[in-house]
């Protein structure tokens, strides 16, 4: 993969990750200026699910990078997109958290403390966000050097924990009988299973190129 291609693909990746946010901001602007229902009858709900689902999708895509390039060694260059995708996942998670702080808790500390202590789906969501913070902070090349590849890798296993906490948060948040979180749950489960299976395959076939 030539450098030029990588740059072009990175531009595309940025556009793909930012596009939905631009769409959201545009509709938010419309709802302020001309059409109160540009974001649907329940804009709070629309924004909440938009940012929440965006976070989970990006997290899962980030987690898919390593298994995919192990499965198809030719795609090794995919790893160069992992940080970008992971950081966008964190960005969406921050938007999702802001939605809650503004539109649900109304910036009230007492409301937030109530929610966090009483509502497990909010506790799970907050836990997921908190796990993403150290990951975002250590996303620089400097951090990798400082921590050492092994430690850095170990720390970044937290991505799985964050994704699991996020999916649990989703299930606990929806009504009983609603199965919309099923899709993302299945994808995450496949990814969780793929890691040990691919690792085992690699051990039994040492000729395959090893990489972290």
């Amino acid at each position: 993969m030539s450098k030029r291609w990588i740059v072009a693909l990175k531009v595309l990746a940025h556009a793909a990750c930012l596009g939905p946010v631009v769409w959201l901001l545009w509709h938010l602007y419309l709802s302020v200026t001309s059409e109160p229902t540009a974001l649907g009858p329940d804009p709070t709900h629309t924004v909440t699910f938009f940012t929440g689902r965006g976070t989970l999708r990006l997290l899962v895509i980030t987690l898919a990078v390593t298994p995919v390039r192990r499965l198809i060694p030719k795609l090794i260059w995919l790893v160069r997109f992992r940080r970008l995708l992971g950081l966008y996942a964190f960005f969406y998670a921050c938007l999702h958290l802001m939605t809650y702080v503004w539109l649900y808790a109304g910036f009230s500390w007492s409301a937030m403390v109530d929610d966090i202590s009483q509502r497990r789906f909010i506790t799970a969501g907050l836990a997921a966000w908190l796990m993403l913070v150290p990951l975002a902070l250590t996303s620089t090349a400097w951090s990798i050097r400082k921590l050492g590849g092994k430690n850095w890798n170990r720390l970044h296993w937290l991505t799985y924990c964050a994704a699991i906490a996020g999916v649990v948060h989703y299930w606990w948040g929806v009504k009983s009988g609603v199965r919309t979180p099923m899709g993302i749950t299945v994808v995450l489960a496949v990814l969780l299973l793929a890691r040990p299976i691919l690792a085992a395959r690699q051990r039994s076939a040492p000729s395959v190129q090893r990489s972290a």
Binding site: T37, G40, P41, D42, P43, V47, D114, Q118, R119, T180
Partner: protein, 321 residues
Amino acid sequence: MILKKSEIPTSEITPKQAYMNRRAFMAAAAATGVAAIAGERVSRMVRPAGVEAAEKLTVVNSPLSTTGVEVTPYEDITHYNNFYEFGVDKGDPAKNAGTLRTRPWSVKVEGLVKEPKTFDIDTLLKLKPMEERVYRFRCVEAWSMVIPWAGYSLSEFINACEPLPSAKYVQFLSLADSKQEPEIYNAHLNWPYSEGLRMDEAMHPLTLLTFGLYGEVLPNQDGAPVRVIVPWKYGFKSAKSIVKVKFVKSQPSTTWNDMAPQEYGFYSNVNPNVDHPRWSQKTERRIGFPIWKQRQPTLMFNGYGDQVAQLYAGMDLKKNY
């Protein structure tokens, strides 16, 4: 405050444009020409195929109508629905309810009554004069609307059913027909949808046997052709598309209460002091409001405490949620 006499029915005072999505209005205007708009409500033109144009109802004012509230646009009341028989997404019922056949329709009355009866929908429509009742509507999911319903007090119908003194509860059963409701088994609830009220709740003048909204017959997705509206309770207590009414001695089993009793109590009175296990009920999101104005305080008994609080005198509402 809400016992104040209201002026003219909303159906007459609400300008057409006010309850239509502006974009839909423009699109419809472009598509059908101004002449058509002058004669007809435009939201009808954006109705999904298969959903027939609504019939007008003759409604009179009611002193029980809530005043001083901003009525939710027709478009939102008819495109943001929980009606699991037609799919679990809020937009599904508007898309899928076209397959519901509301004629012929009859309501069977059974149980502790002088004699079992069957009421034809056209008999029910003419049983008593239709009133317009503007009520707040609060969903257990913490969103709310204000809806100009059309109907008459359920007590009028109950009197016509001639229940026995031994009847302490009334149960409502909704249509469960996978031919007309193809999505019904995708939702994992015990069908048919069942709801119930204590007899005194059912006889309360605010409890409405409902046939329409905005001065027209109910669109299918809003529970056509006949439903109940209990304005001081969470929306799921108000059964839609009713085919059977049973008078019983003890508390009937009800769908959401069976599904998750810790989340949905039998009473389910709107109560800002009793939270849903997964979210606060202190506030609600008003549908159709701009995002920064959506959050509103939730009122005890949805604002109908003056009229209904005495029904629950001496009851611990935290236990009987």
